[in-house]
Amino acid sequence: MAEFRGVDFYGIEALLSEEEKLARDSVRQYVEDNVIPIVDDFYERGEFPMDLVRPLGELGVFGANLPTEYGCAGMNNVAYGLVTQELERGDSGIRSFVSVQGALVMYPIFTFGSEEHRQTWLPKLATGEKIGCFGLTEPDHGSDPGGMVTRARKTSDGYVLNGAKAWITSGSVADVAVVWAKDDDGRVRGFLVEKGTPGFSAPEIHKKHSLRASVTSELFFDDCHIPDANLLPGSGGLKSPLMCLNQARYGIAWGGIGAAMACYDTSLRYALGRTQFGRPIASFQLQQAKFAEMLTEITKMQLLALQLGRLKDDGKVTPAQISMAKRNNVDWALKIARMARTILGANGIASEYPVMRHMNNLESVYTYEGTHDIHTLILGEAATGISSFK
């Protein structure tokens, strides 16, 4: 079968630098050779392909937009976005792992951590020798993380954590958790909690219909004592975790393109090869309407993400702009997955094709990192100047 060649209806290739294209092509090849052939089996078994972690570290995808002095690639945000796009073309679970490791663990350590935190953790997280997770959501506080009840009570030499986090990607396999809790003044602070700390446990959540090739866990803190040195000194207020989410949402906006391209490409090949009533199903107007829609929306997603990346590289991006891309691109990725699924007929539900796996995965992506609705409200506020939250 001919290689996957990406989708480029608008000559967007010409807007990319040599480095950006090389980064995308290298990760695309890696995913083609190492992720796509195996990921469906892992998905079926409900297991994360742990053996990919070190090779992905070697490739340099973890925290690829962080500086080289900590062992990262020091790429610009467009190149980093293209990397997450290619990873999600493989599977949203793999991209989720990479987003969490880079945007939700390495980024806060880099941004809010001490120099010692950076030196200790970043190089090892970059190679994949160490794995991280990010604990913000709680069983009773999802869209409204400010309502969190996890507490960090100050003691003479550190803090005692009590509370629970839910739906935490990579929780059970993480060596370090970036945990958000309220201090005695009710201020949200970030803490590094290492695996094996007494009072800390991270059981895996099984029986999921989505992101099955990804570990999702609960985190429990039961009088879990952590030293002063594990406080992220630069963190303070809900703004800190939200800054992390902005990094991750940025990558997710690109990831949606990857999943959408996989579904478009699969359904197009299928429709050209599948004959009914003596003609390829691609020749029927009803199917062509779907392709016209998919192609148009993928092109819009690409332009949205690319300009977002350029703004981010110029240091001009706003959270609401990131919300627009996350909201639009994941929403359309999901719609495209559903459209592609119909084109494949019965084969659309089969594991042999990646479409339904992407479709199911995207249900999580639609909800995490700010639900579609929450981004709608953020954009509503950006448009009107009136917040609907308060």
């Binding site: 290298s26 990760v27 490739l59 080289t68 990262c72």
Partner: protein, 260 residues
């Protein structure tokens, strides 16, 4: 160990090829390009030799200015620097002139080993490497599918692919030139760090006059007259009669066509 690896940029394997208006070559305007397949294996072999023996890997590319992406990919994978032969005089060279140009650029480097791919995926002459070896007065081995080096790096032992499933092991002293067959190893992926690092590695751009070559010296000895898609032709002739008659008629026909 100083290793030069020649990498050519060619149209991607699964690109849709169209012949250009004057039928002299394919229409390159809508194509995307990549490193020639066997050259990518040659690069990997070069990087492995460097890992074993130390030294440096130099990428040598003759091609248009946009071959820089392929060069950067080589640097991103671990080559130390590159020589880019880039000049309008280098357009449409035949294998002899290509070898001559590359030899002029590579010779002064006095490398221990020169690698090329077995053949280019576009023209497919399979001559550039061996011609270059002759011009530089180096021993060479072609179609190599395995390569070993002595501890001191002074001797190469290579396995050549012959025909009909036959192979040949030969040893040769360095400096030497080896043309690599696809599949000899598993080429690495360019790491993101490597891609960023490649920006800082030197690429020495050389024109024909830098190398003391002029258009006369590079005049092709052969040229593509016209390019066309294979024409589908089919003629069926039924030979009738009994077996003896048919056989005789068939033999006469085959003799007449010069087949036997």
């Amino acid at each position: 160990m100083k290793i030069v690896v020649c990498i050519k940029q060619v149209p991607r394997r699964d690109d849709l090829l169209r012949i250009n208006a004057d039928k002299s070559w394919i229409d390159e305007s809508s194509l995307s390009f990549e490193a020639n397949e066997s050259d990518a294996y040659a690069l990997e072999e070069a990087l492995r030799l460097k890992e074993k023996h130390g030294g440096e890997v130099i990428v040598a590319t003759l091609g248009p200015s946009d071959a820089s992406k392929t060069i950067k990919e080589g640097l991103a994978k671990g080559a130390d620097r590159a020589i880019h032969l880039c000049d309008s005089t280098f357009e449409k060279l035949d294998a002899v002139a290509t070898a001559k140009s590359l030899a002029a650029a590579i010779g002064p480097e006095a490398p221990d080993v020169i690698f090329t791919g077995l053949q280019s995926d576009d023209l497919g002459y399979g001559q550039t490497g061996v011609l270059m070896a002759e011009m530089l007065d180096l021993p060479h081995a072609s179609i190599v599918i395995a390569l070993e080096t002595s501890e001191d790096g002074k001797t190469l032992r290579v396995k050549r692919e012959l025909e009909n499933g036959w192979f040949q092991w030969i040893s040769m002293a360095t400096p030497a030139l080896v043309t690599i067959q696809s599949g000899i190893n598993k080429p690495r992926y360019a790491s993101l760090k490597g891609i960023m690092g490649a920006k800082k590695k030197p690429v020495d751009v050389r024109t024909a006059s830098d190398l003391g070559l002029n258009a006369d010296a590079l005049t092709p000895r052969e040229a593509i007259g016209s390019l066309y898609l294979p024409v589908r032709e089919k003629q069926t002739e039924m030979l009738e009669g009994d077996a003896e008659t048919v056989a005789a008629a068939l033999v006469a026909r085959l003799r007449g066509n010069g087949v036997i």
